[in-house]
Symmetry: C2
Subunit: 137 residues, 2 copies
DNA sequence: GTGCTTGCAAACAATTTGCAGTGTC
DNA sequence: GACACTGCAAATTGTTTGCAAGCAC
């Protein structure tokens, strides 16, 4: 199947591909709407999936969140369980993939790691609410 | 809110808690049905969520899979992208959590890592289909 | 008896798909 | 002119929720 260059595909790419952005399909649509370049949500999904297949973006999903990441270079993420904000980490250990491949017998091994915790902003807001009470694990 | 011991909660616990099992809510229901101990799917979900909250089991979700893990001790997983089978790994590095917490300013940091690749069984089945052709990355 | 739990069905959210019309190559 | 792509609405899938009845404590 040959791929065609379309106006809509280009728009979705422009918003997310190659950017350090973490966003949902809905987010992409909203931005395009604001830019006066409305696209059907189904098409946004189709193009995001297309970009994933092509390896230009990545989809990251966890138990209670999911987003598309414009940066396809392997890296980990950290997410605040409180406000949901996502940040990039530059910690991706490709050696682990080799080690695990070796010990498990699997091939083409890669991995996804998402850290979770409470970000500094939410920590201080929590303190405001509870005085000097310490946040504990 | 005080929790009550119920027949259904006990049944769900018996199937999954403390076991090295990776299963969906549907799976749990099916097993209980087979054992003649039918429970409503909604109740299965409610009890699985309850067990997660209590830290007796864990929910692991990725872009194209999701399962409940009866083993609550921190550990990583590896999944075959071909057949979907999940295996446990004993590689969980708690030091990473400390390191990331320190560098990011987050607190209460923990993480989830899922490796993906092609398991030995699927590798050999692939070979059968394509002769001696080597599977590459 | 109080009120947490359950079953059932309806509600939901996120995502995909069928189809006919449109636009690319 | 093919046929990939789009928009729209309907369909799916996995999961949660409202509510009345049931059961644990």
């Amino acid at each position: 199947m040959k791929h065609r260059q379309t106006h809509q595909k280009a728009a979705v790419m422009r918003i997310i591909a190659g950017k350090d952005r973490h966003m949902s399909a809905e987010d992409v649509k909203t931005i395009l709407d604001q830019e006066g370049e409305s696209i059907s949500l189904a098409t946004v999904y189709r193009n995001l999936n297309y970009l994933c297949q092509e390896g230009m973006i990545r989809k990251v999903t966890g138990s209670d969140f999911s987003f598309f990441d414009g940066n396809a270079v392997p890296h980990d993420h950290i997410r605040c369980v409180c406000c949901g904000r996502i940040a990039d980490l530059d910690s991706y250990n490709a050696e682990d993939d080799q080690r695990i491949a070796h010990s498990s017998g699997f091939v083409s091994v890669h991995h996804t790691t998402v850290y979770e915790g409470i970000c500094e902003k939410c920590q201080s807001e929590e303190e405001k609410r509870h005085g000097t009470e310490r946040i504990k694990d």
